[in-house]
Amino acid sequence: MNNKLAQTNRDLLHQVSVLRAALSSADVAVVMKPYVESVLAMCEALHQEALRQLKDLAYGLEDTIPDILEASQRAVNLFDLVNTRFAPPIIRYADEDRLPLALINWLHAEHAVTRGKPFAVSDGGFAVYPTPDWPIVYLLPVSRRMTLLLLPFLIHEFGHLLYACHKAELDELVGEFQRRVARVLAPTTVRDRGPVTTDDGFQRTAADAWYPWTQEVFCDAVGLTIGGESFLKAFSHYFRFRSSKEYYLPRRDQLLRRHPVTRIRTTMLVDRARQLGLDRAALDVGDTWALTAATLGIREDYEGTWVDELFVPLKKTIDDMLEESSPLSCFALPDNAPIPMINEAWRRFEDDERNFDGWERLAIAQYLDNALG
């Protein structure tokens, strides 16, 4: 066992050394350099761990073998994660990453809690790996890296990072809302009996589901607060015709998802857009969703996971979460903000589609020159 564990750790040392060489020779944008340095630091930590395990093995204490086995497993698993999730954004870097990188660089720099946090982009559906103590990876589809219309989704993903940076305070607020959900969704006979308990099956499951769901609604609100009209338009454009699932899902399927039914998210967004004075866009999105639902023959029904009585408490919860996390307002943007360009892209896309492509290419080139040099 001792020899095999030593072998595993020596292999880890070799793998880390190979990965380090590949990472060090990669050519990336300047804004990604801190990310490269932080992944290299993870490699260095793994190198030190492997050496540490070899030293522990050298003591030859039989009863420490389970400890060294766990430490070795942990190091190997972490290395797999670095190798498969954190290294690829560096190795696969291409010039096409510059547009999302510039937007993320601006977002991070404008918020005190995210300033200086290393980040990178990678391929995939819109998503993020937002751990405050680790480098941040934003994922987005290939063509969306090179075009403007759906870039505001990165602001929603940035919302997850804001959540992670304010987790303790925001978890409190979400917990309060979850308890409200459990009470509101309880049948009257159960409500009259006293506090809803964990034995009250469905209410508890629905309250649990609202933990990630509230986070998603919060991230939409962050998207709207920073991205303004462009976020609302991108959101509606992306989801409105995807499938009937955006409008209705059986209860069982809803409870398995990380996101609430999209129609609830749209309702919350439209209301918040009105509150922000984005009346025209809000009206247009509200009408489109109502018309599409009617065309699909879908009535508004959430099978008990949502009732109108929750609307005001959820809105209040999100207001409080925004106050706690302080995202930048789209009405107080600095001169270097890319948001006006994305708003302009939506205006041109809707009003002058024929000349949109050419305008977009020029706008991106000019923006990147200013933002990244």
Binding site: L61, I68, E70, Q178, C219
Partner: protein, 147 residues
């Protein structure tokens, strides 16, 4: 945010606990064997802090559960709380002081100074590690592809 990310987040959270368990376990065993290892002693200090915070966090979660309140935790974090509660009821397989006497005693054990307490500590850490490792497997299999 993707499910994959949540699995990664849980993987990191479990990793932090596992590291603290193993660091404290190794330092205590070296201490018992009369081996002086400064790095391990330093790491043990950090590990004690992490474990005390973990026990406090668990204690709160147990209280919430006992009061029948929905927990303000994501699904995977609650699975860990449930797994520890289940282990505490499973007297046949979990016999350490931590599992028999509860988290407050466990938190005190972290600062064990006499030989008997130190032995009780290593036994407790070993059982806790079994539970956290098993919990981490769920996240791990979701993020690192099999071949």
């Amino acid at each position: 945010m993707s499910q994959e990310w949540l699995d990664i987040q849980n993987f990191f959270a479990d990793n932090q606990i596992l590291r603290a368990i193993t660091d404290l376990s190794l330092a205590t065993k070296y201490d018992l064997a009369g081996i002086c290892d400064e790095e391990r002693a330093l790491r043990a200090g950090e590990a004690r802090k992490t474990l005390r915070e973990f026990f406090t966090h668990l204690d709160q979660a147990f209280d919430e559960a006992a009061q029948g309140r929905p927990l303000s935790l994501d699904h995977r974090s609650r699975e860990l709380v449930d797994a520890i509660q289940a282990a505490r009821r499973d007297r046949a397989n979990f016999r350490s002081v931590l599992m028999r006497s509860g988290l407050r005693t466990g938190a005190e054990l972290v600062d064990a100074s006499d030989r008997r307490s130190k032995e009780a500590l290593t036994e407790s850490l070993d059982e806790l590690r079994r539970i956290v490792s098993r919990h981490q497997q769920g996240s791990l299999s979701a993020i690192v592809e099999d071949f």
